[in-house]
């Protein structure tokens, strides 16, 4: 402050304070205070200038400082993590922020029919025409020259942000091109049935392998995390109907086979049970027969000495004993003695009352 008002004071050559009128005094006061304000503002500006190099990196970001246009540090070391960072003011340093926000997702454009995000969100589809317009409808030509719609979604991570930002104008667009390329490539050597039903996983793996290979060859600085592929037959009603018919026929075939297998089970189980039954019966028959014969033999051996003693007596005794037992058991016993004159006698016996014609038996 003192320096500023030295020269106006020095020029008049030390005049008394009085000649200064009150007007010029007020002017000098005003100048003095405005210079003060300017100085203060300048100091603030210097601090603001120096402070302009301070910046904050968010949790989903990395930053790189360019000093005179050249990155500070190389490779991974150039990357500044989340937090407060300081760089030199603008013309010397610049900082570039890179969003690495976790997993990035991108969807292929080449293989899908014409639709809009609004329709997708609403779950509606445009009406399929009889043909596909190459300008707007995407599709794959399969190995067996069929047409399918297919859409791949790729999840990837930015693994080398420096490369991602400084080597490519639009690296995510390059990833998408690679994805479309990989989808066409996979479609070109898979058959329609493999893509839609038989080998969905193999098809997806092929897309993923190819896209991984492409992004690595091209050094896009990204790492492929996951890839999903959705494929549908053409939406033209008659074509779709034909595909549905094949599915139905396959389901039907499965049902026929299941039915046949259950019949098979029934038939063989029943046969098995019958067979086991036959064998068991034979076994028990055998046991019974053998036992019977052997017990007869035992009995015979017991009887033999008695018989040998007196055969005719033994025979008579046994015969009569047996007859007695038999006759006790018999329900009806009819004795028909010989007539005295030796004539033939006739006896009629009704075996079944309900039979109109009685059966006759003759006996002497």
């Amino acid at each position: 402050m003192n320096g500023m008002d030295k020269s106006p004071n020095a020029a008049p050559g030390l005049p008394p304070e009085n000649p200064m009128d009150s007007g010029s005094q007020a002017l000098s006061e005003a100048l003095r205070s405005s210079f003060g304000i300017i100085k203060f503002v300048m100091v603030i500006l210097i601090f603001v200038f120096l402070g302009s190099g301070i910046f904050i990196v968010g949790s989903q970001e990395r930053a790189i400082i360019l000093r005179m246009g050249r990155p500070v540090g190389t490779g991974e070391q150039a990357l500044l993590g989340p937090g407060l960072h300081f760089s030199l003011p603008y013309p010397i340093d610049e900082h570039v922020k890179v969003s690495i926000s976790g997993i990035q997702s991108i969807t292929s454009t080449a293989g899908w029919y014409a639709t809009t995000p609004a329709m997708e969100a609403a779950g509606t589809e445009p009406f399929p025409g009889a043909t596909l317009n190459p300008a707007i409808d995407g599709y794959l030509i399969t190995a067996d020259a069929n047409i399918v719609h297919s859409r791949a979604t790729l999840n990837y991570r930015i693994s080398e942000p420096v490369r991602f930002v400084f080597n490519f104008v639009n690296a995510s667009n390059a990833v998408q091109h690679a994805l479309d390329d990989a989808l066409l490539y996979a479609g070109s050597h898979y058959k329609v049935d493999e893509i839609l039903t038989r080998d969905i996983i193999g098809f997806r793996e092929t897309v993923m392998r190819r896209v991984t290979q492409l992004v690595e060859e091209r050094n896009l600085g990204v790492t492929v995390e996951q890839c999903t592929v959705k494929s549908i037959p053409p939406r033209q009603p008659n074509v779709r109907q034909a595909f549905d018919d094949v599915l139905k026929a396959e389901v039907n075939r499965g049902r026929l086979l299941t039915d046949a297998r259950s019949t098979e089970n029934q038939v063989t189980n029943r046969a098995g049970a019958e067979a086991a039954n036959l064998i068991n019966m034979a076994e028990s028959d055998r046991v019974r027969f053998v036992n019977e014969v052997s017990s007869r033999a035992d009995q015979f051996l017991q009887l033999l000495p008695q018989y040998k003693e007196n055969p005719s007596l033994f025979v008579q005794q046994r015969l009569i004993g047996t007859m007695g037992r038999v006759l006790t058991n018999v329900q009806d016993k009819i004795l028909v003695p010989e007539s005295v004159d030796g004539n033939v006698r006739e006896l009629r016996y009704i075996l079944n009352r309900e039979l109109p014609k009685p059966k006759s038996e003759e006996t002497k």
């Binding site: 047409i147 050597h189 074509v239 046949a260 046969a271 052997s294 009569i320 006759l327």
Partner: protein, 305 residues
């Protein structure tokens, strides 16, 4: 005195800033620069950093983005070697590698990148159709080659385009190229759909017939096996009975000691067994033991009278 030093420092500082503004410039990491002296390209700078120059008016600095640009051409129609009409579209990644060559051709335009892409599209157009014409459709789509021909075709187009771009000295380089779309003319898709529908019908019929045939096969096979099991079981049963008879035969030897008695015993047993109960027996007085009744007067004699 103190005040003077301060002024000098400030003016030196300002002088330095002024010098740097006039005589230096920065090249950023993602830029390449061509410096022209009186409008004539003098030198190119591809490394980032602080560079010297002569002041404005003498030397001019032209900056270009040296990062890889994406470009995708329009679908174009081309005949394959076996006369299929194919619509193809390719994408490329290209970048400016030699700004000295690039500058005079494209920098006159307000948007040099777009101008360069126009040139690139013409090159892509004719190289692409030349390559497509060399291959039959079976090179593009094939179930047997595992996609190697597809990659080979992409590589072939890339090489052709790279050669032409280099020969023309555009100052740019094509880094990579791939097929973005491979399609058929709209009218052909209708034919493809008809063929697909016919193929599906065939498949559905086949699956139906195969299902019936397989089911029939399973059933008849089951019946055959069941019959086999029963036959085996019957055989086994006969065998078991045979074994039983063989075992019994040992005991039968005992009866040989006195066949007469054996016969008698068997006959008695047979009699016993046949006349168990609920039977009716009619006999005369010759039958034992009723022979005792012979000659005895009975009331039977009166029946006839």
């Amino acid at each position: 005195m103190k005040r003077k030093t301060f002024t000098i420092i400030i003016s030196i500082f300002l002088g330095i800033i002024f010098f740097f503004l006039l005589f230096t410039f920065q090249v950023r990491q993602q830029e390449v620069v061509v410096v022209t002296r009186f409008g004539k390209p003098d030198r190119q700078i591809t490394e980032p950093g602080l560079k010297f120059r002569l002041p404005w008016g003498i030397e001019m600095v032209h900056r270009f983005d040296q990062r890889v640009q994406n470009f995708e051409d329009k679908l174009t129609e081309g005949l394959s070697r076996d006369s299929y009409n194919l619509l193809t579209s390719v994408y490329v990644g290209w970048k400016i590698t030699n700004p000295t060559n690039f500058f005079p051709r494209f920098a006159g335009n307000p948007n040099p990148i777009a101008e360069a892409e126009k040139v690139l599209e013409r090159t892509l157009g004719h190289q692409k159709s030349a390559v497509v014409g060399k291959h039959p459709l079976s090179d593009f789509v094939s179930a047997t080659d595992k996609g190697t021909n597809f990659i080979a075709i992409e590589q072939e187009i890339l090489t052709a385009v790279q050669n032409e771009v280099r020969a023309q000295n555009y100052g740019l380089e094509v880094e990579f190229l791939g097929i973005k779309k491979l399609q058929l003319p709209e009218s052909v898709t209708q034919n493809v759909f008809d063929r697909m529908t016919a193929e599906r019908k065939l498949l559905a019929d086949k699956s139906q017939f195969e299902g019936e045939a397989d089911a029939q096969k399973i059933r008849s096979d089951a019946n055959r096996r069941a019959a086999e099991m029963l036959a085996n079981a019957e055989g086994r049963a006969t065998e078991i009975k045979g074994q039983g008879e063989a075992q019994a035969a040992k005991s039968l030897a005992v009866f040989q000691q006195n066949p007469e008695l054996a016969t008698f015993v068997f006959r008695l047993d047979a009699l016993d067994a046949t006349l168990k109960d609920r039977s009716t027996l009619i006999f005369d007085q010759h039958t034992e033991p009723f022979s005792l009744l012979r000659g005895t007067p009975t009331n039977l004699g009166n029946i006839k009278k």
